[in-house]
């Protein structure tokens, strides 16, 4: 039940082992986000991730607590990187452990959807024509809003 904000690559095998080792749940879901080599039709060379450290920690810890309350999670973990990330590098890793699969999968989706719009990170893409800030997507706001309306799983 913890958050890591880090510049270093995410050691997915180690994170998974630590997540499950501490909990005896029957269902584990993970999500990993990687730097894409394109956005729409534009090539991307690397991603710079700026963040607001104190607030990011507060928001993500609160998000984990909400996921426990809402989905009865036995364990969870959120790892988010910052700094300069080349294409194919990990950006974010989220893991959820629960008694049943519906809870684990929904919790993972809830954490990712909420993190996208509520955690203070900002992406800047480096492309062939220079760097530019990534705009927030209306679609992300819509995915986030579903969790306000629904009662969970």
């Amino acid at each position: 039940m913890s958050v890591s904000l880090q510049a270093e690559p995410i050691d997915i095998a180690a994170e998974y082992a630590a997540l499950v080792g501490k909990a005896s749940g029957a269902a584990v879901t993970t999500f990993t986000g990687y730097v894409r080599d394109h956005t729409g039709e534009d090539a991307v060379g690397a991603l710079e991730l700026e963040h607001y450290p104190e607030m990011a920690l507060t928001v993500l810890q609160d998000l984990g607590r909400q996921a426990v309350e809402r989905f009865g999670l036995i364990n969870w973990r959120i790892v988010h990187r910052f700094g300069l990330l080349p294409v194919s590098e990990t950006i974010v890793w989220v893991g959820a452990v629960a008694d049943h699969r519906g809870e684990a999968i929904s919790a993972c989706e809830f954490m990712m959807d909420t993190l996208k719009t509520d955690a203070p990170f900002w992406k800047r893409e480096q492309g062939p024509e220079g760097a530019r800030w990534v705009a927030s997507r209306a679609q992300d706001g819509e995915r986030r809003a579903r969790w306000e309306r629904s009662e969970g799983i």
Binding site: L49, Y52, T58, T117, P120, F121, W122, R124, W133, A135
Partner: protein, 92 residues
């Protein structure tokens, strides 16, 4: 009364500053009620710094976080608080 202002991402870049201390002694006393000032009054103070500030601070969709929590324009800021201004978040 001193408030820490933090700026992030495109806002930080446009204004060339990441953090500043705002001393509110210069503000019309009417804005300060019971030692607190609204977020929109602080934005008005920052906007008065020049055209680039006015443009950046008044852009639509700007997010305001008071002591690490997102707030609306009517939130009350007190001495020692930290107010962060930034564009919509794009993490994950």
């Amino acid at each position: 009364m001193s408030i820490t202002i933090k700026l992030f991402a495109s806002l930080r870049e446009a204004l060339g500053e990441a953090e500043l201390q705002l001393e509110l002694g210069a503000l019309p006393p009417a804005e300060v009620v019971d030692g607190a000032i609204r977020v929109d009054s602080i934005k008005a103070v920052l906007s008065a710094r020049g055209a680039d500030w006015s443009d950046a601070i008044n852009q639509p969709n700007l997010v305001h976080a008071l002591n690490h929590k997102v707030v609306y324009l009517d939130a009350l800021v007190k001495d020692g608080d930290e107010l962060a201004l930034f564009p919509p978040m794009t993490g994950g």
